[in-house]
Amino acid sequence: MLAFLQFEGRRIFGEKKNLIFFAFIALSSAYFAWSGLHEYRSFLEEKRIFLNLEKEKTSQITSYAQYGAFGFRLLYESSPLNLFFVNSSVLQDLESNIDNFEAIRIESSFKGNKLFLKRGYFKDFAGILFVFGSLLMLYLGHAALASQAYLRFMSRRMSLNRCCCLTTIARLFWLDLFFAALALGLYLLIRLAGVAFSESELRVFLLYLLFLVLVLDFFYLLGQLTTVLLRFRKVFFLWFFVVWFVCVFLLPEMNRVSVFNSSRALESAEKVNLEKFRNLMSMERQFRELIKVNPAAPLDQIKLMQKKFAVQFINSSYLLNTGLETKYLREVEGVIFGHGRQSAVFPTMFYQFLTGEASGKGYYGYLDFMDYIMKLRSRFIHFYLRKRYEEGEPPMESFVKGGENVFRSHSRLPRNYWWGVLATVMYGIGIALLTLWRLRRQLSLA
């Protein structure tokens, strides 16, 4: 084994074009990690301005009626690990307004410099390693077995199985070492640059790295298989491009289209909002009817009636609307769960799902954000009704204590992470066995 490690190490790292490619991947991923860091720091600056602005805005509000109408904004803050996955995330920079309106609004601002923030597909650390790493691994997988003549020559000195397996293990050892060292090195550099990652974030990063290495190994084995299937012919780089394109672009895109199609079974969000609006308006109508019946009612009595209606609102139509929203959210969760399960079917599809979740701005991050909004809204509505109708408009007090108007999303792994890992390993084993089987047939029948 040691001889294979030594020989393959020299083969890989003694080749100038390989070194150029390694350097290119290392430099571009370092650039995108640095760019992610820069973006993360800009976000922290924006967040500071946002918090000051919100504080200032609340201090200007004079009554609880105004506070209920204006509400306050809630900012979505992803985990620092997002700097590695800036463009792999599902969500953009998000905000929501917590007020007493029936509809929950989630928005992404494109004002000012945010208009120029979106960089497009794959242009981040995770994307660069995925796109160029897969290309490199395909090529190195292709170059590994050299030719039929070489394998025939080697098979006189050792069994073909042993030769292929040890060559593959030795090459994968060096290549995995390169990618692992690159990713861990950049992680440490970012840490040294002052970004504090929690223990759970380190765990997510390490498990992401494990899957990245497995996906790249999958491409290496695919390169070997393609070479063997095409009988080591010289003119087959078009086939390599086709295989690469299908795996990296086509299948993940088909997966995305598939989840979009299954999401069409969901009721329109506008319909849910309309339903909630109707519930609210029927209550308002009842209140107006009551006022019409007693047009000369004194102010005290009207306030008493308002209070009664506020309690009634909390106990009936608000509960009903919350129930509608929760039900809708659980339906969305069902689609997301199905998407996650479907993604585990193929390594590149799962890689994209995984990077979305690891960024903290994935589908499950969205669900957490929605849950947080609903909890915060519920508390805010209670606070607003209590202050306005029960306590009779005391001096203005901000609802937001501490950093409640910032939602901190966590980097996470998909629930079916280990299934995805298992599926990728099984693909790898299957491809390796198929390669060996075809190779044995070719060498004895050629």
């Binding site: 003694g14 039929q148 000195r157």
Partner: protein, 228 residues
């Protein structure tokens, strides 16, 4: 000694009909066929099974993985580019010595006969001249010092200089008592190097002659009769 008994192959163009041959120790037998004999080489190398018949080296060992001590099979090297090209020659030899259990001294003894220059060891395989690579390939193949050699059209396309070095090695091996079976299609080369020559046409061994007798025959006539 190489003994082939009633060997039959019947797959597409790879056709042999009851081939029986014995190559004694210290003998070079040249088997000629118009299209070459790659399929027979593969059977002798253990890469392919014959439909019927048997092959024995030194009276016992059959072709296959276990026969490496009994026979050295040297295939034609079509192009250096088809081979392992990324490694340096020196690294490659070191690697083969470790994984194939080859004797390094034996490899360099053969290289010495070929006037191999040490500076080639630092060069990548793809960068060395084809005959330099063939020298190394030959040296590695002969490193096992097997009592039998099966060679498949090895010098086809090689330069004359290399051919002379190769002949020198081959005669050396013959003098050491090795049984050598050479498969090919070059009747002129066969008449130059072999002790006995056999002609295969349409899968059948039609004619056999000693090299001494061959010199008295009209080679052109033999060529037109069996190899055209």
């Amino acid at each position: 000694m190489i003994a082939i008994h009633d060997l039959n192959l019947n797959r597409g163009e790879a056709q042999l009909d009851s081939l029986s041959l014995t190559i004694e120790n210290g003998e070079i037998y040249f088997l000629l066929n118009r299209f070459g004999l790659d399929f027979l080489f593969q059977v002798l190398d253990g890469l392919r099974q014959a439909d019927a018949g048997e092959v024995r080296f030194n009276g016992g060992t059959a072709p296959g993985r276990g026969s490496t001590g009994a026979v050295a099979c040297i295939d034609r090297v079509a192009e250096v580019a088809d081979f392992e090209t990324e490694a340096r020659l020196g690294d490659w030899i070191d690697f083969l010595c470790v994984v194939g259990g080859l004797d390094r001294a034996s490899i360099f003894r053969t290289l010495l006969v070929c006037n191999f220059h040490e500076s080639h060891l630092k060069r990548k395989i793809r960068d060395v001249a084809p005959d330099v690579f063939m020298q190394v390939y030959l040296a590695v193949s002969l490193a096992g010092d097997s009592p039998n050699l099966v060679i498949n059209d090895f010098i086809r396309g090689a330069e004359k200089g290399f051919e002379l070095k190769f002949n020198k090695l081959l005669l050396q091996k013959k003098a050491q008592g090795r049984a050598i079976l050479y498969l090919g299609s070059d009747i002129f080369y066969a008449s130059e190097i072999a002790d006995r020559v056999g002609f295969i046409k349409n899968g059948r061994l039609l004619f056999e002659a000693d090299a001494a007798d061959l010199k008295e025959m009209d080679i052109k006539d033999l060529y037109l009769k069996f190899l055209n």
